[in-house]
């Protein structure tokens, strides 16, 4: 038995029975990281020493019979979530040396649940990207094919889970940044309902779209992580005071009585890869075989989602990233003698190309004379996209779609063409605009052996239905059991 290959629920079972110790488990994961990190590039910071200390504590607690839900489980965290005393960079040179003075809400919750954080994962700088190629730190690679991207922006988290360099991870999703890398790396990833999980301590990209969520080796693990991190937090004024159900108590006895909507617009999407399309068709058959009724639904404003998103997200980003001025924290260009020159030089040297591009796009859309034509228009279209979902959910419980139009692409393939890169977010970003939850589960492989993901979306706060559908689908298939050879 290779300990690093265990799922969270398998490892928890063995820890509870005292067949393994947390220290053995953590050491196995740290050894795994050491042996493959050079190839995969999943981590920005590895917290080996503190992880071992935490594992010792976890073992003591377990031997005392105090067994917390995630006791002694090694997890990784995207480097955009603040971890007290553990460097948090957002994969940006401007935060190269940033040391958070407090834990994000979700980190506090993970620690309370007994989890051990082994490191901070690689990502696109400030979560802006779909490939992790915009990392200011290092190149991340897809464990299934090291010449391909792992997806993004939570590419390091997805790659780390797929390559058994942790048992589970937390990412953030603003337009698909959990679901798309999960799909590209063959793992399970969930973007919860906006407001379900506190954003306190999540470095802001686009505040009305950002949401933290789990990436895991299977659906049950994903639900276990949701149990640990969901909940109301008065420190985030957009956190919603809704009760947290036990996400693991979903039914795995088929899907009869459920109606699944398949949006007709999604099949008409330009650039939808044939292998992805056929994997989704097969998935629909499996879902029907599980007793669900599949119907066609319509989301007529789908074709405007990318345009609306790439005005709204950069607009919010341009405002959020104004805080990086070299005064309070992060990098400062100390050569410059006047305040304005210092601001300019610090920001120009500190931010990478994609971040600068989005700041300019966002600043332009919000600037005097363009606001109505761009930001206001996009926000009105956002309303129509939300209404599309509301109408579709009148006739179905869940909506099914691909996660990404193609499997993982080659490193370098799209990096010089931002618009093409943006268009690959077509299936995921509508959920962020509408605030609804979505899950990505493995549903096939391309002829070249790259994973393909299926997305399931639901109404606000119905994550449990997503887990039900995803778990039943997972049990009926074996895509999640395959592992990449690195």
């Amino acid at each position: 038995m290779k300990l690093h290959e265990l799922t969270i629920h398998e490892a928890s079972g063995l820890l509870r029975k005292k067949e393994i110790s947390s220290q053995e488990l953590i050491r196995a994961v740290l050894e795994r990281i050491e042996s493959v990190e050079e190839k995969v590039g999943a981590y920005i910071t590895i917290a080996a020493e503190t992880a071992i200390t935490q594992a010792e504590l976890a073992d003591k607690e377990i031997s005392r019979g105090n067994i917390l839900p995630l006791a002694g489980i090694p997890l990784s965290v995207k480097d955009i979530i603040c971890t007290k005393g553990l460097r948090t960079t957002c994969a940006s040179r401007i935060l190269d040396n940033f040391m958070p003075q407090y834990d994000a809400f979700v980190i506090k919750k993970l620690k309370e649940a007994g989890a051990v954080i082994v490191g901070k994962t690689n990502m696109d700088e400030f979560a802006m990207g779909s490939s992790t190629e915009n990392s200011g730190m290092k190149t991340a690679r897809n464990p299934w094919d090291l010449t391909c991207v792992p997806g993004g922006s939570s590419g390091g988290s997805a790659a780390a889970v797929a390559a058994d360099m942790c048992l589970g991870s937390l990412g953030s999703d603003t337009g698909g940044s959990i679901r798309q890398p999960a799909s590209h790396c063959g793992v399970v990833g969930m973007k919860p309902t906006y407001g379900r999980i506190s954003r306190f301590g999540l470095v802001a990209f686009a505040s009305s779209l950002d949401q933290i969520g789990p990436l895991a080796k299977d659906v049950l693990d994903c639900a276990l992580l949701m149990n640990a991190i969901a909940g109301y937090d008065p420190a985030d004024s957009t956190s919603v005071p809704e009760d947290v159900p036990d996400y693991t108590s979903f039914s795995n006895k088929g899907l009869s009585g459920m109606t699944i909507g398949i949006p007709k617009e999604y099949n008409e999407t330009k650039g939808l890869d044939l292998e992805v399309s056929s994997a989704i068709k097969n998935a629909v058959k499996v879902i029907e075989g599980l007793g669900a009724k599949c119907i066609e639904v319509t989301l007529p404003h789908t074709k405007y989602a990318v345009a609306a998103y790439y005005i709204i997200a950069p607009s919010e980003a341009s405002s959020n990233l104004a805080r990086y001025d070299g005064v309070k924290y992060g990098f400062r260009d100390k050569e410059k003698k006047s305040l304005i020159d210092m601001y300019r030089s610090t920001r120009t040297k500190g931010f990478g190309a994609e971040v600068q591009r989005r700041i300019i796009l966002g600043t332009y859309s919000l600037s005097s004379g363009y606001y109505d034509a761009y930001y206001k228009k996009a926000s009105q279209v956002r309303t129509l996209i939300m209404e599309d979902f509301k109408n579709a959910f009148k006739s179905c419980d869940l909506i099914l779609s691909p996660v990404a139009p193609t499997p993982a692409f080659k490193i370098g393939e799209k990096i010089d063409d931002p618009l093409t890169m943006y268009l690959s977010d077509i299936f995921t970003l509508s959920a962020n605009l509408a605030g609804i939850p979505g899950i990505s589960v493995p549903c096939g492989f391309s002829s070249t052996g790259l994973p393909i993901g299926l997305q399931v979306m639901s109404r606000h706060f119905e994550e449990k239905k997503l887990f039900t559908a995803a778990c039943n689908f997972e049990q009926a298939t074996d895509f999640h059991k395959k592992k990449p050879e690195i």
Binding site: Q101, Y102, V240, S379, Q380
Partner: protein, 95 residues
């Protein structure tokens, strides 16, 4: 072109970014392409449609105005690039 080089320079100035000739050309092209694509929004009739800035309905999240323990100056200054006597140091503003 959807966005001129002058507009890139002007916008970069608003955003406190320096642009060399290369960046100006590249951003004008790339952002121009994106804005051209965004123009598809003009074919949507949004007359009378309220804009959405937040996807979940929440009324204002008020709380009692009570004094609570805060981070403290030491921690607040812990990441400062330059500091002195409990203050952030910035380049001289007034000559």
């Amino acid at each position: 072109m959807k966005i001129t080089k002058d507009e890139v320079i002007y916008t970069a100035d608003l955003a406190r970014l320096n642009m060399d000739e290369d960046s100006i050309n590249r951003f004008a092209d790339q952002i121009g392409d994106i804005l051209e694509y965004v123009d598809t929004l003009n074919s949507v009739d949004t007359e009378g449609i309220a804009p959405t800035s937040h996807a979940i309905f929440l009324s204002n999240a008020f709380r009692e105005d009570e004094v609570k323990e805060s981070m403290g100056a030491d921690k607040a200054l812990a990441n400062a690039p330059e500091k002195e006597d409990g203050n952030f140091i910035v380049p001289k503003v007034i000559g």
